[in-house]
Amino acid sequence: MSAILVVRDLEKTFGLLVAAHDINVAVPPLQTVGIIGANGAGKTTFVNMITGHLRPSKGAIFFDGRDITGRPSREITRLGIARSFQVPQVFASLTVFENMCIATAVAHAAGGLLAQALTPLHSPDTVAEAEAALELFRIASYRQALAATLPQGVRKLLDIAMAVAGAPRVLLLDEPTSGISIEEKFGLMDVVMAALKNGRITVLFVEHDMDIVERYADRVLAFYDGAIIADGPPIATLENPRIQELISGPKLNVAVLGSRHA
Protein backbone atom coordinates (compact mmCIF):
# COMPACT_ATOMS: atom_id res chain seq x y z
CA MET A 1 0.00 0.00 0.00
CA SER A 2 1.42 3.40 -0.88
CA ALA A 3 1.50 5.94 1.91
CA ILE A 4 0.43 9.53 1.17
CA LEU A 5 2.88 10.98 3.68
CA VAL A 6 6.26 9.49 4.46
CA VAL A 7 8.74 10.96 6.92
CA ARG A 8 12.24 9.52 7.03
CA ASP A 9 14.89 10.11 9.72
CA LEU A 10 13.60 13.60 10.39
CA GLU A 11 15.58 15.78 12.79
CA LYS A 12 15.36 19.39 13.92
CA THR A 13 17.91 21.12 16.09
CA PHE A 14 17.96 24.68 17.36
CA GLY A 15 21.58 25.22 18.26
CA LEU A 16 22.29 22.62 20.94
CA LEU A 17 18.65 21.82 21.54
CA VAL A 18 17.36 18.76 19.71
CA ALA A 19 13.65 19.43 19.19
CA ALA A 20 13.00 16.31 17.15
CA HIS A 21 15.11 13.35 16.04
CA ASP A 22 14.88 9.97 14.30
CA ILE A 23 11.30 10.45 13.25
CA ASN A 24 10.06 7.79 10.84
CA VAL A 25 6.38 7.62 9.93
CA ALA A 26 4.33 6.47 6.96
CA VAL A 27 0.70 7.55 6.84
CA PRO A 28 -1.66 5.75 4.44
CA PRO A 29 -4.39 7.78 2.73
CA LEU A 30 -7.55 8.66 4.69
CA GLN A 31 -6.12 7.65 8.05
CA THR A 32 -6.81 9.87 11.05
CA VAL A 33 -3.71 10.11 13.21
CA GLY A 34 -3.65 11.52 16.73
CA ILE A 35 -0.37 13.01 17.90
CA ILE A 36 0.16 13.07 21.65
CA GLY A 37 2.96 14.07 23.97
CA ALA A 38 3.78 16.43 26.80
CA ASN A 39 4.60 20.07 26.12
CA GLY A 40 7.96 20.35 24.39
CA ALA A 41 7.91 16.74 23.19
CA GLY A 42 8.25 17.82 19.55
CA LYS A 43 4.66 17.56 18.29
CA THR A 44 4.37 21.07 16.89
CA THR A 45 7.94 20.91 15.56
CA PHE A 46 6.90 17.80 13.65
CA VAL A 47 3.82 19.56 12.23
CA ASN A 48 5.88 22.66 11.42
CA MET A 49 8.43 20.64 9.47
CA ILE A 50 5.83 18.82 7.39
CA THR A 51 4.05 22.06 6.51
CA GLY A 52 7.26 23.90 5.65
CA HIS A 53 7.08 26.32 8.57
CA LEU A 54 10.40 24.94 9.83
CA ARG A 55 13.18 23.53 7.71
CA PRO A 56 14.32 20.09 8.94
CA SER A 57 17.98 19.85 9.95
CA LYS A 58 18.14 16.31 8.60
CA GLY A 59 15.92 13.72 6.94
CA ALA A 60 13.29 13.84 4.25
CA ILE A 61 9.54 14.29 3.85
CA PHE A 62 7.63 12.76 0.93
CA PHE A 63 4.10 13.71 -0.03
CA ASP A 64 2.53 11.31 -2.49
CA GLY A 65 5.97 10.07 -3.48
CA ARG A 66 7.33 13.57 -3.99
CA ASP A 67 10.15 15.04 -1.94
CA ILE A 68 8.88 18.21 -0.26
CA THR A 69 11.64 18.58 2.32
CA GLY A 70 12.42 22.24 3.02
CA ARG A 71 9.95 23.61 0.44
CA PRO A 72 8.32 26.93 1.43
CA SER A 73 4.97 26.51 3.15
CA ARG A 74 3.03 28.22 0.36
CA GLU A 75 4.27 25.61 -2.13
CA ILE A 76 3.45 22.74 0.19
CA THR A 77 -0.02 24.22 0.66
CA ARG A 78 -0.51 24.40 -3.11
CA LEU A 79 0.56 20.75 -3.39
CA GLY A 80 -2.21 19.71 -1.00
CA ILE A 81 -1.05 19.82 2.62
CA ALA A 82 -2.98 22.32 4.73
CA ARG A 83 -2.90 23.11 8.41
CA SER A 84 -4.69 24.87 11.21
CA PHE A 85 -3.00 26.56 14.14
CA GLN A 86 -3.03 26.25 17.89
CA VAL A 87 -3.61 30.01 17.97
CA PRO A 88 -6.11 30.46 15.13
CA GLN A 89 -4.66 32.46 12.24
CA VAL A 90 -7.69 34.31 10.93
CA PHE A 91 -8.00 37.85 9.61
CA ALA A 92 -9.18 39.60 12.76
CA SER A 93 -10.37 42.84 11.18
CA LEU A 94 -12.56 41.13 8.57
CA THR A 95 -15.90 39.40 8.95
CA VAL A 96 -16.21 35.61 9.04
CA PHE A 97 -17.70 35.72 5.55
CA GLU A 98 -14.84 37.82 4.15
CA ASN A 99 -12.30 35.49 5.77
CA MET A 100 -13.91 32.52 4.08
CA CYS A 101 -14.25 34.32 0.73
CA ILE A 102 -10.54 35.16 0.72
CA ALA A 103 -9.52 31.60 1.56
CA THR A 104 -11.83 30.22 -1.15
CA ALA A 105 -10.84 32.76 -3.79
CA VAL A 106 -7.12 32.25 -3.19
CA ALA A 107 -7.54 28.50 -3.42
CA HIS A 108 -9.22 28.85 -6.81
CA ALA A 109 -7.19 31.65 -8.38
CA ALA A 110 -4.39 29.58 -9.83
CA GLY A 111 -1.88 31.21 -12.15
CA GLY A 112 -0.16 33.53 -9.72
CA LEU A 113 -0.52 37.00 -8.40
CA LEU A 114 -1.22 38.79 -11.68
CA ALA A 115 -4.15 36.47 -12.39
CA GLN A 116 -5.38 37.18 -8.86
CA ALA A 117 -5.15 40.91 -9.52
CA LEU A 118 -7.53 40.46 -12.46
CA THR A 119 -10.01 38.11 -10.77
CA PRO A 120 -12.82 39.69 -8.76
CA LEU A 121 -12.98 38.50 -5.14
CA HIS A 122 -16.74 38.08 -4.94
CA SER A 123 -17.40 35.94 -7.97
CA PRO A 124 -20.66 33.96 -7.67
CA ASP A 125 -18.74 30.67 -7.42
CA THR A 126 -16.52 31.93 -4.63
CA VAL A 127 -19.42 33.35 -2.64
CA ALA A 128 -21.48 30.16 -3.02
CA GLU A 129 -18.57 27.98 -1.99
CA ALA A 130 -17.69 30.21 0.97
CA GLU A 131 -21.32 30.10 2.16
CA ALA A 132 -21.34 26.32 1.82
CA ALA A 133 -18.14 26.00 3.86
CA LEU A 134 -19.60 28.17 6.64
CA GLU A 135 -22.67 25.91 6.70
CA LEU A 136 -20.54 22.78 6.71
CA PHE A 137 -18.56 23.98 9.73
CA ARG A 138 -21.74 25.26 11.42
CA ILE A 139 -20.54 28.84 11.75
CA ALA A 140 -22.85 30.46 9.19
CA SER A 141 -24.72 32.28 11.98
CA TYR A 142 -21.53 34.27 12.68
CA ARG A 143 -21.30 35.29 9.01
CA GLN A 144 -21.22 39.06 9.61
CA ALA A 145 -19.26 39.04 12.88
CA LEU A 146 -15.71 40.37 12.90
CA ALA A 147 -13.24 37.54 13.40
CA ALA A 148 -11.69 39.48 16.31
CA THR A 149 -14.93 39.22 18.29
CA LEU A 150 -15.57 35.47 17.86
CA PRO A 151 -15.72 32.97 20.71
CA GLN A 152 -12.64 30.73 20.72
CA GLY A 153 -14.49 27.66 19.44
CA VAL A 154 -15.89 29.51 16.43
CA ARG A 155 -12.50 31.01 15.67
CA LYS A 156 -10.96 27.53 15.74
CA LEU A 157 -13.61 26.27 13.33
CA LEU A 158 -13.06 29.23 11.00
CA ASP A 159 -9.32 28.58 11.05
CA ILE A 160 -9.89 24.95 10.07
CA ALA A 161 -12.52 25.86 7.46
CA MET A 162 -10.05 28.27 5.84
CA ALA A 163 -7.35 25.61 5.81
CA VAL A 164 -9.72 23.17 4.09
CA ALA A 165 -10.83 25.72 1.45
CA GLY A 166 -8.10 24.59 -0.93
CA ALA A 167 -9.39 20.99 -0.86
CA PRO A 168 -6.19 19.57 0.66
CA ARG A 169 -5.42 15.86 0.69
CA VAL A 170 -3.60 16.04 4.01
CA LEU A 171 -4.69 18.26 6.89
CA LEU A 172 -2.68 18.90 10.04
CA LEU A 173 -4.57 20.27 13.02
CA ASP A 174 -2.41 21.72 15.79
CA GLU A 175 -4.37 21.32 19.03
CA PRO A 176 -7.84 21.89 17.56
CA THR A 177 -9.49 21.82 20.98
CA SER A 178 -7.00 23.83 23.05
CA GLY A 179 -8.53 26.80 24.82
CA ILE A 180 -12.00 25.25 24.58
CA SER A 181 -14.09 24.16 27.56
CA ILE A 182 -14.38 20.42 28.22
CA GLU A 183 -18.10 20.42 27.37
CA GLU A 184 -17.51 21.94 23.95
CA LYS A 185 -14.56 19.81 22.87
CA PHE A 186 -16.49 16.83 21.57
CA GLY A 187 -19.02 19.04 19.80
CA LEU A 188 -16.23 20.88 18.00
CA MET A 189 -14.45 17.70 16.99
CA ASP A 190 -17.73 16.16 15.79
CA VAL A 191 -18.29 19.15 13.50
CA VAL A 192 -14.72 19.06 12.21
CA MET A 193 -14.62 15.32 11.60
CA ALA A 194 -18.04 15.30 9.92
CA ALA A 195 -16.96 18.17 7.65
CA LEU A 196 -13.72 16.41 6.76
CA LYS A 197 -15.37 13.06 6.00
CA ASN A 198 -16.87 14.50 2.80
CA GLY A 199 -13.52 15.77 1.59
CA ARG A 200 -11.67 12.42 1.81
CA ILE A 201 -8.82 13.98 3.75
CA THR A 202 -5.97 12.36 5.63
CA VAL A 203 -5.85 14.03 9.04
CA LEU A 204 -3.07 14.38 11.60
CA PHE A 205 -4.08 16.16 14.77
CA VAL A 206 -2.11 17.18 17.84
CA GLU A 207 -4.16 16.72 21.00
CA HIS A 208 -3.73 16.73 24.76
CA ASP A 209 -7.12 15.29 25.65
CA MET A 210 -6.79 11.49 25.56
CA ASP A 211 -10.56 10.98 25.34
CA ILE A 212 -10.59 12.98 22.11
CA VAL A 213 -7.67 11.00 20.71
CA GLU A 214 -9.31 7.70 21.57
CA ARG A 215 -12.60 8.69 20.01
CA TYR A 216 -11.39 10.17 16.71
CA ALA A 217 -8.00 8.69 15.89
CA ASP A 218 -7.36 5.47 13.97
CA ARG A 219 -3.77 5.53 15.08
CA VAL A 220 -1.71 7.31 17.71
CA LEU A 221 1.80 8.71 17.56
CA ALA A 222 3.25 9.37 21.01
CA PHE A 223 6.09 11.88 21.20
CA TYR A 224 8.56 12.09 24.03
CA ASP A 225 11.68 14.21 24.11
CA GLY A 226 11.70 14.79 20.37
CA ALA A 227 11.19 11.18 19.31
CA ILE A 228 8.24 8.88 18.61
CA ILE A 229 8.10 6.35 21.43
CA ALA A 230 4.88 4.61 20.40
CA ASP A 231 2.96 4.20 17.19
CA GLY A 232 -0.16 2.05 17.10
CA PRO A 233 -3.92 1.78 17.53
CA PRO A 234 -5.37 4.20 20.12
CA ILE A 235 -6.59 1.94 22.91
CA ALA A 236 -3.51 -0.26 23.07
CA THR A 237 -1.20 2.73 22.93
CA LEU A 238 -3.06 4.85 25.44
CA GLU A 239 -3.41 2.01 27.95
CA ASN A 240 0.29 1.28 27.97
CA PRO A 241 1.32 2.45 31.47
CA ARG A 242 4.75 3.60 30.32
CA ILE A 243 3.18 5.84 27.67
CA GLN A 244 0.73 7.19 30.20
CA GLU A 245 3.48 8.06 32.59
CA LEU A 246 5.61 9.75 29.95
CA ILE A 247 2.77 11.60 28.23
CA SER A 248 0.41 12.68 30.95
CA GLY A 249 2.01 11.81 34.25
CA PRO A 250 1.30 8.74 36.43
CA LYS A 251 -1.96 9.99 37.94
CA LEU A 252 -4.23 8.95 35.06
CA ASN A 253 -6.64 6.23 36.11
CA VAL A 254 -6.60 3.35 33.65
CA ALA A 255 -9.70 1.77 35.10
CA VAL A 256 -11.80 4.87 34.50
CA LEU A 257 -10.48 5.25 30.95
CA GLY A 258 -11.21 1.60 30.18
CA SER A 259 -14.63 1.36 31.81
CA ARG A 260 -16.02 4.38 30.00
CA HIS A 261 -15.73 2.63 26.68
CA ALA A 262 -16.56 -0.84 27.88
Binding site: A82, V90, L94, I102, V106, T119, L121, M162, A165
Partner: protein
Protein backbone atom coordinates in the same frame (compact mmCIF):
# COMPACT_ATOMS: atom_id res chain seq x y z
CA UNK B 1 -17.51 48.74 -7.62
CA UNK B 2 -21.15 49.61 -7.22
CA UNK B 3 -22.99 51.07 -10.17
CA UNK B 4 -23.89 54.08 -8.05
CA UNK B 5 -20.29 55.08 -7.38
CA UNK B 6 -19.41 54.53 -11.04
CA UNK B 7 -22.23 56.81 -12.21
CA UNK B 8 -21.44 59.36 -9.51
CA UNK B 9 -17.75 59.33 -10.40
CA UNK B 10 -18.49 59.83 -14.11
CA UNK B 11 -20.82 62.72 -13.34
CA UNK B 12 -18.29 64.46 -11.10
CA UNK B 13 -15.60 63.93 -13.75
CA UNK B 14 -17.74 65.45 -16.54
CA UNK B 15 -18.89 68.31 -14.32
CA UNK B 16 -15.35 69.24 -13.27
CA UNK B 17 -14.11 68.95 -16.86
CA UNK B 18 -16.92 71.18 -18.13
CA UNK B 19 -16.47 73.74 -15.35
CA UNK B 20 -12.73 74.15 -15.85
CA UNK B 21 -12.87 76.93 -18.54
CA UNK B 22 -14.99 79.12 -16.26
CA UNK B 23 -12.65 78.82 -13.28
CA UNK B 24 -9.92 81.33 -12.42
CA UNK B 25 -6.42 80.46 -13.60
CA UNK B 26 -5.00 80.07 -10.08
CA UNK B 27 -7.65 77.50 -9.20
CA UNK B 28 -7.04 75.45 -12.36
CA UNK B 29 -3.29 75.37 -11.72
CA UNK B 30 -3.89 74.45 -8.11
CA UNK B 31 -6.28 71.68 -9.09
CA UNK B 32 -3.84 70.36 -11.71
CA UNK B 33 -1.02 69.97 -9.24
CA UNK B 34 -3.40 68.65 -6.57
CA UNK B 35 -4.70 65.94 -8.91
CA UNK B 36 -1.20 64.99 -10.05
CA UNK B 37 -0.17 64.58 -6.41
CA UNK B 38 -3.38 62.67 -5.70
CA UNK B 39 -2.08 59.88 -7.94
CA UNK B 40 0.89 59.49 -5.58
CA UNK B 41 -1.46 59.45 -2.61
CA UNK B 42 -3.60 56.79 -4.31
CA UNK B 43 -0.49 54.61 -4.47
CA UNK B 44 0.23 55.27 -0.80
CA UNK B 45 -3.29 54.18 0.09
CA UNK B 46 -2.68 50.86 -1.66
CA UNK B 47 0.37 50.28 0.54
CA UNK B 48 -1.21 51.66 3.69
CA UNK B 49 -4.06 49.15 3.47
CA UNK B 50 -1.38 46.49 3.92
CA UNK B 51 0.01 48.41 6.90
CA UNK B 52 2.99 49.88 5.04
CA UNK B 53 3.84 53.59 5.08
CA UNK B 54 6.73 54.54 2.79
CA UNK B 55 8.49 57.75 3.79
CA UNK B 56 10.32 57.87 0.48
CA UNK B 57 7.62 57.70 -2.15
CA UNK B 58 9.07 60.92 -3.61
CA UNK B 59 11.74 58.67 -5.12
CA UNK B 60 9.31 57.44 -7.78
CA UNK B 61 7.68 60.87 -8.06
CA UNK B 62 11.07 62.39 -8.89
CA UNK B 63 11.96 59.59 -11.32
CA UNK B 64 8.72 60.30 -13.22
CA UNK B 65 9.30 64.04 -13.18
CA UNK B 66 12.96 63.90 -14.20
CA UNK B 67 12.21 61.42 -17.01
CA UNK B 68 9.85 63.93 -18.60
CA UNK B 69 12.19 66.85 -17.98
CA UNK B 70 15.26 65.09 -19.39
CA UNK B 71 13.43 64.00 -22.53
CA UNK B 72 12.26 67.54 -23.28
CA UNK B 73 15.77 68.81 -22.55
CA UNK B 74 17.80 66.37 -24.63
CA UNK B 75 15.43 65.20 -27.38
CA UNK B 76 12.82 66.73 -29.63
CA UNK B 77 10.06 64.44 -28.35
CA UNK B 78 7.22 66.62 -27.06
CA UNK B 79 4.12 64.45 -27.27
CA UNK B 80 2.46 64.45 -23.88
CA UNK B 81 1.49 60.78 -23.89
CA UNK B 82 5.00 59.69 -24.89
CA UNK B 83 6.47 61.83 -22.10
CA UNK B 84 4.14 60.45 -19.46
CA UNK B 85 4.56 56.90 -20.69
CA UNK B 86 8.34 57.30 -20.31
CA UNK B 87 7.86 58.57 -16.75
CA UNK B 88 5.52 55.69 -15.96
CA UNK B 89 7.79 53.00 -17.39
CA UNK B 90 10.93 54.31 -15.68
CA UNK B 91 9.27 54.70 -12.29
CA UNK B 92 7.65 51.28 -12.68
CA UNK B 93 11.06 49.77 -13.36
CA UNK B 94 12.62 51.65 -10.44
CA UNK B 95 9.87 50.38 -8.14
CA UNK B 96 10.34 46.86 -9.50
CA UNK B 97 14.05 46.97 -8.61
CA UNK B 98 13.57 48.70 -5.25
CA UNK B 99 10.81 46.21 -4.48
CA UNK B 100 13.20 43.28 -4.26
CA UNK B 101 14.65 44.88 -1.15
CA UNK B 102 11.68 46.85 0.20
CA UNK B 103 9.18 43.96 0.03
CA UNK B 104 11.18 42.08 2.65
CA UNK B 105 10.68 44.72 5.33
CA UNK B 106 7.71 45.85 7.39
CA UNK B 107 6.70 48.72 9.63
CA UNK B 108 9.37 51.25 10.62
CA UNK B 109 12.12 49.36 8.76
CA UNK B 110 10.12 49.56 5.57
CA UNK B 111 9.45 53.26 6.11
CA UNK B 112 13.09 54.07 6.81
CA UNK B 113 14.51 51.98 3.98
CA UNK B 114 12.16 53.67 1.56
CA UNK B 115 13.26 57.05 2.95
CA UNK B 116 16.91 56.09 2.57
CA UNK B 117 16.42 55.11 -1.06
CA UNK B 118 14.75 58.42 -1.90
CA UNK B 119 17.58 60.31 -0.19
CA UNK B 120 20.13 58.49 -2.33
CA UNK B 121 18.39 59.83 -5.43
CA UNK B 122 18.28 63.28 -3.81
CA UNK B 123 22.02 63.12 -3.24
CA UNK B 124 22.66 62.11 -6.83
CA UNK B 125 20.42 64.86 -8.22
CA UNK B 126 21.99 67.57 -6.06
CA UNK B 127 25.54 66.60 -7.01
CA UNK B 128 25.05 66.00 -10.73
CA UNK B 129 25.72 69.04 -12.88
CA UNK B 130 24.12 67.54 -16.01
CA UNK B 131 20.89 66.90 -14.07
CA UNK B 132 20.67 70.55 -13.11
CA UNK B 133 22.18 70.19 -9.62
CA UNK B 134 20.30 71.98 -6.79
CA UNK B 135 18.54 74.42 -9.11
CA UNK B 136 17.05 71.78 -11.36
CA UNK B 137 16.02 72.85 -14.84
CA UNK B 138 13.02 73.83 -16.92
CA UNK B 139 10.55 71.55 -18.70
CA UNK B 140 9.47 72.40 -22.25
CA UNK B 141 5.72 72.59 -22.82
CA UNK B 142 4.30 69.42 -24.40
CA UNK B 143 2.22 68.92 -27.53
CA UNK B 144 -1.05 67.03 -27.78
CA UNK B 145 -0.84 64.77 -30.88
CA UNK B 146 0.85 67.59 -32.73
CA UNK B 147 -1.29 70.35 -31.26
CA UNK B 148 0.64 72.92 -29.27
CA UNK B 149 -1.85 74.96 -27.21
CA UNK B 150 -0.94 78.49 -26.13
CA UNK B 151 -1.70 80.57 -23.05
CA UNK B 152 -4.86 79.70 -21.20
CA UNK B 153 -5.57 76.74 -23.48
CA UNK B 154 -2.23 75.22 -22.50
CA UNK B 155 -3.33 75.28 -18.88
CA UNK B 156 -6.73 73.80 -19.63
CA UNK B 157 -5.41 71.00 -21.85
CA UNK B 158 -3.03 69.92 -19.12
CA UNK B 159 -5.80 70.05 -16.53
CA UNK B 160 -8.06 67.87 -18.66
CA UNK B 161 -5.23 65.44 -19.25
CA UNK B 162 -4.49 65.15 -15.52
CA UNK B 163 -8.20 64.76 -14.84
CA UNK B 164 -8.43 61.95 -17.40
CA UNK B 165 -5.44 60.15 -15.87
CA UNK B 166 -7.02 60.47 -12.44
CA UNK B 167 -10.33 59.07 -13.69
CA UNK B 168 -8.66 56.05 -15.27
CA UNK B 169 -6.44 55.48 -12.22
CA UNK B 170 -9.41 55.75 -9.84
CA UNK B 171 -11.34 53.21 -11.89
CA UNK B 172 -8.45 50.75 -12.14
CA UNK B 173 -7.53 51.04 -8.46
CA UNK B 174 -11.17 50.51 -7.43
CA UNK B 175 -11.26 47.38 -9.57
CA UNK B 176 -7.97 46.25 -8.06
CA UNK B 177 -9.33 46.68 -4.51
CA UNK B 178 -12.16 44.33 -5.47
CA UNK B 179 -9.86 41.71 -6.96
CA UNK B 180 -8.48 38.72 -5.07
CA UNK B 181 -4.97 40.20 -4.90
CA UNK B 182 -6.33 43.62 -3.88
CA UNK B 183 -8.45 42.09 -1.13
CA UNK B 184 -5.36 40.51 0.42
CA UNK B 185 -3.98 43.84 1.70
CA UNK B 186 -5.88 43.86 5.00
CA UNK B 187 -5.05 40.17 5.58
CA UNK B 188 -1.35 41.07 5.29
CA UNK B 189 -1.81 43.28 8.35
CA UNK B 190 -3.82 40.65 10.23
CA UNK B 191 -1.94 37.41 9.63
CA UNK B 192 0.89 36.89 7.18
CA UNK B 193 1.15 33.31 8.42
CA UNK B 194 -2.35 32.43 7.33
CA UNK B 195 -1.72 33.97 3.90
CA UNK B 196 1.43 31.91 3.43
CA UNK B 197 -0.53 28.81 4.43
CA UNK B 198 -3.20 29.65 1.88
CA UNK B 199 -0.44 29.49 -0.72
CA UNK B 200 0.29 33.22 -1.08
CA UNK B 201 3.76 34.73 -1.10
CA UNK B 202 3.28 37.84 1.02
CA UNK B 203 6.57 39.35 -0.17
CA UNK B 204 5.55 38.98 -3.79
CA UNK B 205 2.14 40.51 -3.01
CA UNK B 206 3.83 43.51 -1.38
CA UNK B 207 6.20 43.73 -4.32
CA UNK B 208 3.23 43.95 -6.69
CA UNK B 209 1.67 46.68 -4.54
CA UNK B 210 4.98 48.57 -4.53
CA UNK B 211 5.17 48.45 -8.31
CA UNK B 212 1.59 49.71 -8.67
CA UNK B 213 2.19 52.49 -6.13
CA UNK B 214 5.55 53.41 -7.67
CA UNK B 215 4.06 53.64 -11.16
CA UNK B 216 1.23 55.83 -9.92
CA UNK B 217 3.79 58.07 -8.19
CA UNK B 218 5.83 58.25 -11.40
CA UNK B 219 2.82 59.29 -13.47
CA UNK B 220 1.98 61.85 -10.77
CA UNK B 221 5.54 63.18 -10.94
CA UNK B 222 5.49 63.34 -14.75
CA UNK B 223 2.24 65.30 -14.69
CA UNK B 224 3.53 67.57 -11.93
CA UNK B 225 6.70 68.33 -13.94
CA UNK B 226 4.56 69.31 -16.94
CA UNK B 227 2.36 71.45 -14.72
CA UNK B 228 5.15 73.25 -12.85
CA UNK B 229 7.37 73.34 -16.00
CA UNK B 230 10.39 72.85 -13.78
CA UNK B 231 12.04 70.02 -11.87
CA UNK B 232 14.45 70.23 -8.95
CA UNK B 233 15.92 67.80 -6.39
CA UNK B 234 13.34 68.83 -3.78
CA UNK B 235 10.90 66.59 -5.65
CA UNK B 236 12.80 63.62 -4.18
CA UNK B 237 13.45 65.16 -0.74
CA UNK B 238 11.94 63.54 2.34
CA UNK B 239 9.69 66.51 3.06
CA UNK B 240 7.99 65.87 -0.29
CA UNK B 241 7.42 62.25 0.75
CA UNK B 242 6.18 63.54 4.10
CA UNK B 243 3.68 65.77 2.31
CA UNK B 244 2.24 62.74 0.52
CA UNK B 245 1.95 60.85 3.78
CA UNK B 246 0.26 63.92 5.26
CA UNK B 247 -2.37 63.85 2.52
CA UNK B 248 -2.74 60.09 2.91
CA UNK B 249 -3.61 60.54 6.59
CA UNK B 250 -5.93 63.40 5.69
CA UNK B 251 -7.65 61.23 3.05
CA UNK B 252 -7.73 57.94 4.94
CA UNK B 253 -7.52 54.45 3.46
CA UNK B 254 -11.26 53.97 3.20
CA UNK B 255 -11.95 55.30 -0.28
CA UNK B 256 -10.37 56.03 -3.63
CA UNK B 257 -12.24 59.31 -4.06
CA UNK B 258 -10.82 60.54 -0.75
CA UNK B 259 -7.31 60.64 -2.23
CA UNK B 260 -8.43 63.28 -4.73
CA UNK B 261 -10.51 65.30 -2.28
CA UNK B 262 -7.74 65.07 0.32
CA UNK B 263 -5.08 66.22 -2.10
CA UNK B 264 -7.22 69.15 -3.24
CA UNK B 265 -7.98 70.18 0.35
CA UNK B 266 -4.27 69.98 1.16
CA UNK B 267 -3.21 72.23 -1.73
CA UNK B 268 -6.01 74.64 -0.91
CA UNK B 269 -5.04 74.75 2.77
CA UNK B 270 -1.44 75.31 1.79
CA UNK B 271 -2.29 78.27 -0.49
CA UNK B 272 -4.61 79.83 2.05
CA UNK B 273 -2.08 79.36 4.84
CA UNK B 274 0.65 80.85 2.67
CA UNK B 275 -1.59 83.83 1.94
CA UNK B 276 -2.57 84.61 5.52
CA UNK B 277 0.55 83.52 7.38
CA UNK B 278 3.46 83.68 4.93
CA UNK B 279 6.00 83.12 7.71
CA UNK B 280 4.32 80.37 9.65
CA UNK B 281 2.17 78.50 7.17
CA UNK B 282 3.55 75.12 8.29
CA UNK B 283 1.98 75.74 11.70
CA UNK B 284 -1.40 76.06 10.02
CA UNK B 285 -0.91 72.76 8.19
CA UNK B 286 0.28 71.09 11.38
CA UNK B 287 -2.84 72.23 13.17
CA UNK B 288 -4.97 70.88 10.32
CA UNK B 289 -3.29 67.47 10.57
CA UNK B 290 -3.70 67.46 14.34
CA UNK B 291 -7.41 68.21 14.03
CA UNK B 292 -7.79 65.48 11.41
CA UNK B 293 -6.15 62.88 13.61
CA UNK B 294 -8.20 63.96 16.64
CA UNK B 295 -11.61 64.25 15.04
CA UNK B 296 -11.41 62.28 11.81
CA UNK B 297 -8.90 59.53 12.56
CA UNK B 298 -9.90 57.55 9.50
CA UNK B 299 -9.64 60.56 7.24
CA UNK B 300 -11.95 62.25 4.79
CA UNK B 301 -12.82 58.84 3.35
CA UNK B 302 -14.60 57.93 6.57
CA UNK B 303 -17.06 60.76 5.89
CA UNK B 304 -18.08 59.01 2.66
CA UNK B 305 -18.38 55.68 4.48
CA UNK B 306 -20.52 57.34 7.15
CA UNK B 307 -22.83 58.75 4.46
CA UNK B 308 -23.07 55.34 2.80
CA UNK B 309 -23.98 53.64 6.07
CA UNK B 310 -26.65 56.24 6.78
CA UNK B 311 -28.13 55.70 3.33
CA UNK B 312 -28.13 51.95 3.86
CA UNK B 313 -29.90 52.33 7.19
CA UNK B 314 -32.51 54.53 5.60
CA UNK B 315 -33.16 52.13 2.73
CA UNK B 316 -33.35 49.28 5.22
CA UNK B 317 -35.92 51.02 7.38
CA UNK B 318 -37.84 52.02 4.24
CA UNK B 319 -38.26 48.38 3.20
CA UNK B 320 -39.45 46.53 6.29
Amino acid sequence: MTLRSLVLGTLVFLLVAAMAPTLPVWLVSLATIALANALVVLGLIILWRAGLVPFGQALFYAVGAYSVALITRYTSLRDVLVLIAAGAVLSCFTAFLAGFLLARYREIFFAMLSLAMSMILYGVLVKTETLGSTDGFGVEPPTYIGYAPQGRMHLLMLFWLVLAFCAVAALLVSLYFRSVAGALAVPVRDSEIRLEFLGISVNRLIHLNLVIAGTLAGIGGALAALSIEHVDPNMSYWTTSGGFVFVMVLAGAGSVAAAFVGSFVFELLKSIAYDILPGTWQMFLGAALLLTILFLPEGIGSLFARLRRRRQRQSMSATP
